[in-house]
């Protein structure tokens, strides 16, 4: 456990022990450590980043600098379902903007936001590499392709039904 003095909700820092033991010895592993930490907590809480800075031996500002540079890292918690809306070139040409707008309007959230019930987070992402199925969204790792605004909203509604909402 580290003794940082940062504010906000406290995370269970003992979950980091194994990661820090394996990778903590070198600042060259900072990105890997942050990736593992995000896998554990779902995002990068502030106290976790302070703890990593202390154990790796770099300034907290450096950790924050790396965390905000790469699009993979999130500083806020995400919903149960992460909707990744592909904004690659092939998806753009095949109408991804309308698909994303329809999802955004239906759920009432914008890029990077989470619904009030904590169920969905919407994230615009660069190419998912399923270009032949464009436009594509990926929800928790499963791809849905050849979408229209209507069929994309139908996918979301299907999940809501499954969750009893």
């Amino acid at each position: 456990m580290c003794n940082c003095s940062c504010q906000g909700p406290k995370s269970d820092l003992s979950l980091l022990d194994d990661v820090l033991k394996e990778y903590g010895g070198s600042s060259g592993n900072l990105i890997t450590i942050l990736q593992k930490a995000q896998n554990i907590y779902g995002y990068l809480p502030k106290d976790v980043m302070y703890c990593i800075a202390e154990k790796v031996g770099v300034a907290p500002a450096d950790v924050m600098g790396v965390a905000t540079f790469y699009s993979q890292f999130r500083l806020t918690p995400i919903g149960k379902y992460l909707i990744m809306a592909c904004q690659g070139t092939a998806c753009h040409v095949n109408g991804s903007e309308r698909v994303t707008a329809a999802i955004s309007e239906y759920l009432g959230i914008g890029n990077g936001e989470t619904t009030a019930d904590g169920l969905f987070t919407l994230e615009n992402v660069a190419c998912l590499g399923c270009c032949s199925l464009a436009p594509v969204i990926m929800i928790n790792g499963e791809a849905y392709g050849n979408l229209t605004p209507d069929s994309a909203v139908a996918v979301i509604k299907g999940i809501q039904e499954k969750e009893g909402k």
Partner: protein
Amino acid sequence: MRIVIGEGSCGIAAGAAKVHKAIEALMTENESFTLGSTGCIGMCFLEPIVDLYDGKILIKRLVKVTADDAAVIVEAARSGDLSGVEKLVISAEDEEFLNRQTRIALRHCGLIDPVSLDDYRNADGYQALEKALKTMTPEQVIEEIKVSGLAGRGGAGFPTWFKWNAARQSVGERKYLICNADEGDPGAFMDRAVIESDPHSLIEGMLIGAYAIGACEMIVYVRAEYPLAITNLEIAIDAARKANLLGENILGTGFSCDMRIKAGAGAFVCGEETALIESLEGKRGMPRLKPPFPAQKGYMDEPSNINNVETFANVSWIINNGGEAFAAMGTENSKGTKVFALTGKIRKGGLVEIPMGKTLRDVIYGIGGGIRDNKEFKAVQMGGPSGGCIPADLLDTVIDYKALAATGAIMGSGGMVVMDESTCMVGMAKFFLDFTALESCGKCVHCRIGTARMQEILTRIVKGEGKEGDIELLEELCDAVKDGALCGLGQTAPNPVLTTIRYFRNEYEAHIREKKCPAKECVDLLTYSIDADKCKGCTLCAKKCPAKAISGEVKKAHIIDENICIRCGQCVSSCRFGAIIVE
């Protein structure tokens, strides 16, 4: 009989894993046939694909298979009577998609089990490594690559042998060989397909490179968005290590080299080699000033060499078949083959590998089957955010580094996004500037601020707020960003703007002067109305309209209230009489 399912990322996204499960569920304990999987076959437009093999011979290729087809496929595999699956068999026309290609980098893709070392070895795998380590000096390897004319497939097209030689000549305590698998161009997925479908060919190509430059460690920097590629490569590295193909004293030759994977964290600029090195060192991926070049002072300040996945995938073929065989293909300044990811408004999208020197028309019409829905070809985008849009009258341009650069586009890493008449070229330029403005690392003022200003101007134009002089201002900014940026991202970011202005200036002018979008894509510039002669008063559009902007009585012509209309286009797709006019 052997059933083999194409389970690359695209195949899985199209439902291949469900087909696999459905077939597996029907199999009995002592089943008469076996079930396996392979990587990306490259015919994305026909996924999911199921191949039926008799030994090594492919007897039938079944396409667009669904889980519901599992029963007939199992029945056919058991009985050998293929009449039940006849409706799923690939058409002769679609077979041409592969027949017209020359596959070197993709030579094993879709043919072998990606995670089976035995499969790779049975397909002549690791013979080139053995040949290089046991019968050639590092200098001879570099010479062979020089003869082949192999150039960097990541986009820049720099001669591979030159980089290898520079790293070989460089003095350092440790040397590193790095593979750039941070395939960031939106619309490109060649590298992902190679790693997913044939990871051992990457390992073998890298090992030969490591031997040539004298590296003791190899690192693959791969996009975190490619989980299947990472998994398959991990399995392959593990198997190679156990077989003494990695690690100490490889194949008893005294050469030692190990390999590890580093997952990127999502930053387009990390495709630039010095930014990639910074990222490998755990820092923000911001480019370094060159010189010193990575060959002199790269990763951990030691001599390093970086090549792209496709470049490495060609290496063992060259060692096996000789540099001259590779150089026999292509044009005077571009040798060998190139892989393209053909996507967009194309009829047959997928992975295409062809010898250099073919024309864009050969790829788009000859292999890709032309434009979807019988629409008119407008342009092809090559090279992603660093490239440009090539118009219809240049379709006979040959695929060659110099010829493509002359159009204002670049060869790039291989993204080929085809556009039809409904794609707005100003919108396309804005799309790429949105991307580069977001991905600019911020180090150089011209790139950081210049891309943001260009993005603002383009946003204004597509909203109908463009002003006289905007085109000239864009051109001026393009020059400034090109001159003022340190790395390739900034130096090439203006290309999408410059090529669209060069070939589609009339579209810019229509947006600015007439406030019209000729492609009818820019929502803010469209007006929707109903042709009273064609409208039958079926009320369908009024029911569909989410803004309740359409009114009228049953069996009488309806009208759209332009002030309420949100221009979503739902009325157009719902009208069966073609009565909605979009202007």
